[in-house]
Assembly symmetry: C2
Homo-oligomer: 333 residues x 2
Amino acid sequence: MQLSINFRDVVSAKRRIEQHIKKTPIMTSSRLNHWLGHEILFKMECLQHVGAFKARGAMNAIQSYLESQEPPKKIITVSSGNHAQAIAWACDRLRIPADVYMDKAASSVKKNATRSYGATVIECETRLEAQERVAEAAETSDILMIPPYNHRDVIAGQGTCMLEVFDEINQPIDAVFAPCGGGGLISGCYVATKALSPETKVMGAEPVQANDAAQSIRLGRIVHLKDTPNTIADGVKTLSVGDLTFPQIQQLDGFYEVPEDDICYWTQWLQHLLKVHVEPTSAMSMSGVLVYLKAQSTPQRVMVVITGGNIASETMLKIWQDDHLAEVPRLSE
Amino acid sequence: MQLSINFRDVVSAKRRIEQHIKKTPIMTSSRLNHWLGHEILFKMECLQHVGAFKARGAMNAIQSYLESQEPPKKIITVSSGNHAQAIAWACDRLRIPADVYMDKAASSVKKNATRSYGATVIECETRLEAQERVAEAAETSDILMIPPYNHRDVIAGQGTCMLEVFDEINQPIDAVFAPCGGGGLISGCYVATKALSPETKVMGAEPVQANDAAQSIRLGRIVHLKDTPNTIADGVKTLSVGDLTFPQIQQLDGFYEVPEDDICYWTQWLQHLLKVHVEPTSAMSMSGVLVYLKAQSTPQRVMVVITGGNIASETMLKIWQDDHLAEVPRLSE
């Protein structure tokens, strides 16, 4: 088993990727802060290359590999989401061919986006077939497989977003919130945050309907969901966390399970207040933020990682089905 | 009749407002540029205070007034859109009470937003009643009425966004596109652009279903629509342009009338590619950009002013009703 990551891995990742990635802005909403009576900061990774933080981990994993080995003939992965685009983007930038295995049910928007970065999309009948075929292909020499989260360099790369946060914000941050799918982002954020600001709490959020991480924390072992969960937060539909991410997830200072209605509510409000096209997965954390803030007796400064902005048409239609903007966000009922 | 504005008015406006407004970013989409074979730049006024360029004109009109006169007891306007929020915001910042007259059919989101900046919203039965009551109130001494577009300082203020553009972009810009409602923005942009870069074309866009400006250009006189037009681009529902904006509108290098379907198509694509919550009124121009680009034989650099990002829930639902993301934007059919 590989060892878990440490802070030096995140610092090395920053050095490897900073010439390639965007230093994303930190945004706030004065109206939201006024309504809540606390200061909420948003790290806008939806404005990262490929519209998601995943560009960080993908680029770090490839660059780390290239430090000790010759360029592979091809890089492959299995993903129907933002990691697919991130691998395609990084490979295009480094001029390495990329094959992305997807199940054919993946949306045409995602297939088109992955192809638009120059990768070959290999359509499989099911997700399981995609996983089997990528595992088989990975056994060929000169082929590098980069998984979406359970990989040291991927986790360390995702954590670099918190280095940027602490570099930019010179005041104490009381809590950092991030969504938890496979756990790559939140593990990297946990390691970076605790090294730079040990008193800052790091909290995770997950849909109630895809709560494998919450179950895993409760039981002290990795729980695997049987079927792809039905949630609008498609960035956290993973069936389980990984053995490399679970140790950090177990140490989190808090974990929130969010109902679907809350996810839509906050996606509408963050799109409306920040004027940014944020994914439901990103907005979900705000439900946890409110539960956390209700228990605080002093004004808090909270950092929320906005993970991505790649949203299919049918998801947008679902998000805006009901009007949530009539009810202003407040801490008291 | 007041005189039309000139470049010095825009420069003065910049000096008056620059400590208050945001220097908004210019964004691009590498994928869109790749698909079109041209370079499209977006001036992101949806990331301006109050989520729209209107903050510029409102602040300039008030600051210009204060240069020669004592602060008014109250500032009033009639608007159910972004101008209402801009007046409320500017008055809050300058600590002057504000009354905004709206017809009661205006969305609760807009009323709430205007109130959240500290203004009093005075609800009237109809838009006509709101106009009559604001005109009556404006006759009281010590009350300053600031109209949404037909006002020299408002026009000059809106034009400041092009000063920022030419300050930031050091390469030639072939064409500037902006939507035309009452014409305040496009008139200001026209004056600033032609002074700084006379060879740059300035083009307007309007919904087919609200084409009073296009009709006015064709007939050489200001055409007034009888009823509020039915278009998803609610920022350009004005019934006519103004006598101060029409002279610039007549000089535009091109004017495009855009079908409703195209407005939704481009709103989806700009939200998707730029990851920003852009209003239909902003995205509309892209339909004109495509018609323009099809007629060009050399690669063009085009600046599109993204005017705002304040969108009601029901409008979002309409925008995303059909899936336009399956069909990638291209110049050839």
